[in-house]
């Protein structure tokens, strides 16, 4: 039995430098099992860099990341994915010349790990039911045979999420999934996130919309200039003067 108290992901003193520019400066926090963690902060705070380091796209300059107690800091991206860490991309990156259905089917872990087996596997058909169910849930079933590159913006955003979920991850990073969405689309997105939440051990949601993130998150981590400046429940965090300052600029209410 894994102790309930053991965090799913533990980030410790994580540091990332780009040619002398410090993008992450001693970031430490835990992601608990079962939680939906909101990660917020102004542009350039280091949120996406953090996701890129944790998902193995960038190497960390210093610090550690552990997943269920084992050190995963130096693991390559594909091994992290196989452990169950999935992500979406802030700037939508679908496989544009493949169909919507293929974008979801390609994430099937049984074949990702042993790609050559799929050449000779008989009778092991695509798990179409699972893929179609997923497309149903993000309301893309009608578009299943369309090329992903032809999708409208909101549809592409939803396919990003469906593709990340298709691998059956334990921990999912959603990097600004609501960017550029209107109020109605955002509410639909919130419903989608809520609906698949029970299937995951934890979700990290990066988002700028205060209402959306307060509504969905159990807990918030606030970053500014590569540092964590506050953590806590959404109501408490947004009452924190440092957060208000980072978000709204310096002393805007001051007469």
């Amino acid at each position: 039995m894994i102790a309930k108290s053991e965090p799913l992901l533990a980030i410790r003193d994580l540091n990332k430098q780009f040619r002398g520019l410090t993008a992450l400066d001693g970031v430490s926090f835990d992601i608990a099992q079962g939680e939906l963690l909101g990660l917020i902060g102004p542009n350039g705070a280091g949120k996406s860099v953090l996701v890129n380091v944790v998902s193995g796209i960038y190497g960390a300059t210093a610090g550690t990341v552990s997943f269920l107690g084992s050190d995963i800091t130096r693991l390559p991206s594909y091994q992290l994915a196989r452990l169950g860490i999935a992500r979406t991309f802030q700037n939508i990156r679908l496989f544009g010349r493949m169909t919507v259905l293929e974008n979801v089917l390609v994430a099937d872990k049984r074949y990702l790990t042993r790609p050559f087996r799929s050449l000779f596997a008989k009778g092991a058909h695509d798990d179409l039911a699972a893929a179609e169910d997923l497309l149903e849930r993000v309301d893309l079933i009608e578009k299943r045979d369309a090329l992903a590159g032809t999708l409208a913006y909101g549809e592409a955003r939803r396919l990003e999420i469906a593709r990340a979920l298709a691998g059956g991850p334990r921990l999912l990073f959603l990097d600004e999934p609501a960017a550029g969405m209107n109020e109605r689309e955002m509410q639909e997105l919130a419903a989608v996130i809520r609906s698949f939440r029970p299937a995951l051990d934890a979700i990290v949601l990066i988002e700028h919309d205060v209402a959306l993130i307060s509504e969905l998150s159990d807990r918030l981590v606030v970053m500014d200039s590569g540092k964590v400046i506050a953590t806590g429940k959404p109501v408490d965090v947004f009452a924190d003067p440092r957060v208000v300052e980072a978000y709204l600029g310096v002393e805007e209410c001051d007469d």
Partner: protein, 277 residues
């Protein structure tokens, strides 16, 4: 005469597929003339100096090229895009230079004494490799490779071991090019290093680019047309190279994505089921 056409076309189809296989994982290789040379020379040495039967020699030569391909691709794949292309050009150039300086295989004078290949060997190979590629095109592996070719960073973030697949493709492409080179050498009876220079590699890539890069038929059609067109133009005498060059330019202008640019979705069966009742 007709035998020569069949042989030449078959070898060029195999070479085009060897480039296509590497391209499946997103790398454009100008090294395949070099891989072909390795196949030609290794198999020739095996049959002429050691009396190894031709087919076994061709497979062994393919194995050598496979290991060579993976060996050079491993460092080469640290580079991307144009830089990787330049590295593969360098590989082709060094194979030729290497062969020219090895006296054991005749150096710049070339190597002879091999025989025994018939066009039917090559026709059989085209059928076998074509069938394998057709099987691949309907498999999940094809879909995984397509993902790597579309966006390798995203592919990796989904759990695909991108480097492993790219190495496998380089190895397989080198193997096919070398087996084709083996039969070519044993048909043409005499090989020289300068036959396998960079220009040979450029031609092979051209077959694939002109035919279409997204399906196995493109390389086949491209190689066939590019091999037979110059023969059909013999009547043009000294104008033949010029007209041939213009033909390439016109083809690229009219069909910039190749003659057969389409990609076949890997969900063929699923699609049929989706047809409305």
């Amino acid at each position: 005469m007709i035998q020569d056409y069949v042989m030449q076309t078959g070898v060029n189809i195999l070479l085009a597929w060897s480039v296509y296989i590497i391209l499946l994982s997103g790398s454009l290789s100008f090294a395949n003339g070099g891989f072909m040379a390795i196949g030609a020379y290794v198999s020739a040495v095996l049959t002429v100096k050691f009396g190894v039967p031709l087919i076994l020699a061709a497979v062994l030569a393919g194995g050598v090229a496979f290991l060579f391909g993976i060996g050079v691709a491993f460092p080469a794949l640290r580079t991307r895009g144009l830089y990787l292309i330049l590295v593969t050009v360098g590989i082709a150039a060094s194979v030729r230079a290497m062969l020219e300086s090895i006296d054991y295989v005749g150096g710049i004078q070339g190597f002879s004494g091999m025989s025994g290949a018939s066009p039917w060997h090559v026709v059989a190979l085209v059928v076998i490799v074509g069938a394998a590629l057709w099987l691949l095109s309907r498999s999940r592996l094809q879909r995984i490779l397509d993902a790597v070719r579309e966006d390798e960073l995203v592919a990796a973030s989904m759990g695909i071991n991108v480097l492993y697949l790219k190495l496998a493709c380089f190895g397989a492409g080198a193997f096919i090019a070398a087996v084709a080179g083996s039969f070519y050498a044993h048909y043409i009876l005499f090989v020289r290093p300068d036959e396998f220079g960079i220009l040979a590699s450029v031609y092979i890539v051209l077959y694939v680019v002109l035919g279409g890069m997204n399906n196995l038929w493109g390389a086949l059609v491209g190689a066939t047309i590019m091999t037979l067109a110059p023969e059909l133009m013999r009547g043009l005498a000294q104008w033949r190279p010029t007209v041939f060059g213009l033909l390439i330019v016109v083809l690229l202008l009219v069909r910039p994505n190749g003659l057969l640019p389409f990609r076949i979705p890997t969900t063929g069966r699923a699609k049929r089921r989706a047809v409305k009742p």
